[in-house]
């Protein structure tokens, strides 16, 4: 039996509460509040207490999908990334970089948003990048 608790940060609202994920044999089985966190100080809301339930949901996306003949079918990473990259390349070559738009995410990490900002501006060459802070 491999049991660990991993300190991390809740991914729901903007409070940024500290939490301990209880991990048993590679599965997150429960969530505990973190007493030493400066904002949450040992509290979590009902969503935070139950956050492990969505991690384990069987509805999670587990494979890349590519649309073929109108249907989304399971694909390898190579197929999916090539479809995405070649599709973007074709559109940039035909219509210019401003024919591409990117929605960054208030859910993913700073590092990932930074890369999206770099991908948009340096790789594609467009400032058409926004996210749902307005919504």
């Amino acid at each position: 039996m491999d049991f660990r608790t991993v300190p991390t940060i809740c991914s729901y609202c903007g409070c940024g509460c500290g939490m301990l994920l209880e991990v048993l044999d590679g599965t997150v089985i429960s969530t505990l509040p973190m007493k030493t966190h400066p904002v949450s100080q040992g509290s979590l809301c009902i969503k935070g207490w139950n956050i492990h339930e969505f991690i384990n949901s069987d509805q999670r996306l587990k494979h890349p999908l590519v649309r073929k003949n109108g249907q989304q079918v399971q694909a390898t990473w190579d197929e999916a990334l090539d479809a995405a990259a070649q599709g973007l390349r074709r559109i940039v070559d035909q219509h210019g970089p401003d024919a591409v738009a990117i929605l960054a995410s208030a859910k993913v990490t700073n590092e990932e948003n930074f890369l999206l900002n770099k991908f948009s501006r340096a790789a594609i060459g467009t400032n058409n990048i926004d996210h749902c802070a307005r919504l």
Binding site: C15, V39, L61, A84, V100, I102, E111
Partner: protein, 539 residues
């Protein structure tokens, strides 16, 4: 963000959540704090226990209204009138902090002249709050310090969202409440890393750290670092992107961790736009309504399956640690973006999120003093410019980021759509304590699903009686944009003539009804107010 940036020079929450505990007055408006930010609400409860006065202005009677010393229900979309009215009274009574106004701000005479137009009787007519209550609110807010303002989407999701925020900034500045502990103007961020997405340049007009793409020096710095000449004309906002698809200008859309098919106003329009786009790439952890329409779906890893940082609502950068490997074949989003970029023809070689963070630091002055080692304990609040800097608990001490605080002259404007004979009731939308945004995470959680399995429309019991609608009965709610069938929930939380629908539920999607008219400056849609018709279903 646009509103606060104009007034103060920085769009972020001015103060920190734990500071709320020591406020003498807290004015909560357009934030259903106990349901949407329960842990922020905890700090407000502590303030109350220490004797703070609580003022709540919200069109619904929310849980915080029960706690408040004064709670009012202004009519939907009348926030500017309310705030101008409060400031009118403050100036008439001489309760303003004139020394602070003279020393720290500019534009006061113009504001004062405009406020003459908002005497209590007129404001009472617009807002539905009587003149004596307005006076008590103004007195309670102005007479003790520090006073903190807490707001959320109830303020910003209007065609006048920026005006609303600027008016709150006006109120905080005329009472001398910006630049001090436990004071300030404090927008509560609705998503875990909205702050970070903004900080990192997930916006059409700025690089990371709000460095404008149109600024020559900033553009040259990033162009050099990234080995490309970068575009210097600001790009399209989210709603402009959808209009761009309709016009045939936008051919490809790459969506990461977003579900515009449920969160955006006027879903029929969003759906028809997404169908038109030549290439739709969606990267998400769930097969959302948006992902189902995609040409390519890239499965990302969730927060428990990767490393990185989030920036919370109080600008605190916090370390996210990996607990388990990504499920199935899903991959951390940073790896997906890296590999997509390389295949597109712009190679990226990052081996870890920490390596990316080092690049962020080198290009973003407000993050320059941070490191994963320094973040490991309690995180750090930006600006943190040097490795010795302790981080910044509250902003604008002694001096505003932009120099002087700028007052704005804001006239009241009614909402874009108002009630009429065809659509005689007001609709407002929002979240509940159990669910989150479009529900992709919370609705698959058995414990949360059990608490609240389906959507509903809150309707005042008196209105329900008139229309012979019973609690739990399915009814029809329609607007100029669409219609839904949904269960009625009789509730005195909403005033007569107003209904409220939480937007988490795809099968009873509130955003089938909402109005995509948006604020001209921030481009935020008016999700909080539109006109609807409520009817019984045919027997």
């Amino acid at each position: 963000m646009v509103g606060l940036a104009a007034a103060f020079g920085s769009g972020a929450m001015t103060n920190s959540l734990p500071e709320l505990e020591d406020a003498k007055v807290i004015f909560i408006t357009g934030s259903n704090t106990t349901e949407n930010h329960p842990i922020a609400a905890k700090w407000i409860f502590r303030a109350k226990a220490k004797g703070a006065k609580i003022i709540v202005a919200d069109p619904r009677w929310i849980q915080m209204s029960d706690l408040a010393d004064i709670a009012v229900q202004q009519r939907l979309g009348t926030d500017v009138a309310l705030l101008n009215g409060l400031m009118h009274i403050i100036l008439k009574e001489g309760w303003q902090d004139q020394a602070y106004i003279d020393e720290r701000t500019e534009g006061f005479p113009e504001l004062a002249a405009k406020l003459e137009e908002y005497p209590p009787d007129k404001v009472a007519q617009i807002t539905g709050i009587d003149a004596s209550t307005l006076r008590r609110m103004a007195e309670m807010f102005a007479k003790e310090k520090p006073a903190s303002i807490v707001y959320c989407m109830g303020i910003t999701q209007h065609t006048t969202g920026v005006d609303n925020v600027k008016s709150l900034a006006n109120l905080a500045m005329i009472t001398g409440n910006v630049g001090f502990a436990s004071a300030g103007v404090n927008p509560l961020r609705g998503q875990n890393n909205v702050q970070g997405a903004c900080d990192m340049g997930g916006l059409p007009n700025v690089f990371s750290g709000y460095q404008p793409v149109a600024d020559e020096t900033a553009n040259a710095k990033f162009s050099k670092a990234w080995g490309r000449e970068l575009p210097n004309k600001p790009g399209l906002t989210i709603l402009e992107m959808f209009n761009g698809i309709d016009d045939g200008k936008i051919k490809a859309l790459y969506v990461v961790g977003e579900n515009p098919m449920l969160s955006d106003p006027d879903l029929h329009h969003v759906e028809s736009s997404l169908k038109k786009v030549e290439l739709l790439i969606v990267q998400d952890i769930f097969p959302t309504q948006t992902a189902r329409m995609a040409h390519v779906v890239l499965p990302g890893a969730c927060f428990a399956e990767k490393e990185g940082t989030f920036s919370n609502t109080e600008r605190r950068v916090l370390l996210v640690r990996q607990a388990i490997p990504p499920v199935g074949e899903s991959r951390p989003d940073w790896e997906i973006i890296r590999d997509l970029s390389t295949r597109f023809g712009y190679p990226m070689n990052y081996q870890s999120p920490e390596e990316i963070f080092e690049e962020i630091k080198s290009l973003t002055p407000s993050y320059a003093g941070m490191s994963y080692a320094r973040l490991a304990d309690k995180g750090l609040q930006w600006p943190c410019p040097t490795p010795e800097h302790p981080g910044t608990v509250f902003l604008h001490k002694d001096r505003f980021t932009r120099g002087k605080g700028a007052f704005s002259v804001i006239p009241y404007k009614p909402p874009a759509e108002v009630i009429d004979a065809d659509y005689p009731m007001w609709l407002s939308t929002g979240r509940t304590f159990v669910h989150y945004h479009t529900g992709t995470m919370t609705r698959v959680s058995p414990s949360l699903h059990q608490e609240q399995a389906e959507g509903y429309v809150e309707i005042n019991p008196a209105d329900a009686r008139t229309m012979k609608i019973k609690d739990g009965e399915r009814i029809k709610v329609s607007s100029r944009r669409g219609e839904i069938q949904i269960k009625a929930k009789l509730s005195p939380k909403v005033d007569r003539g107003v209904v409220f629908i939480p937007f988490h539920f795809a099968e009873t999607a509130a955003n089938m009804l909402t109005n995509p008219a948006f604020d001209p400056a921030a481009k935020i849609p008016e999700l909080k107010v539109c006109a609807v018709k409520v009817e019984k279903l045919a027997a």
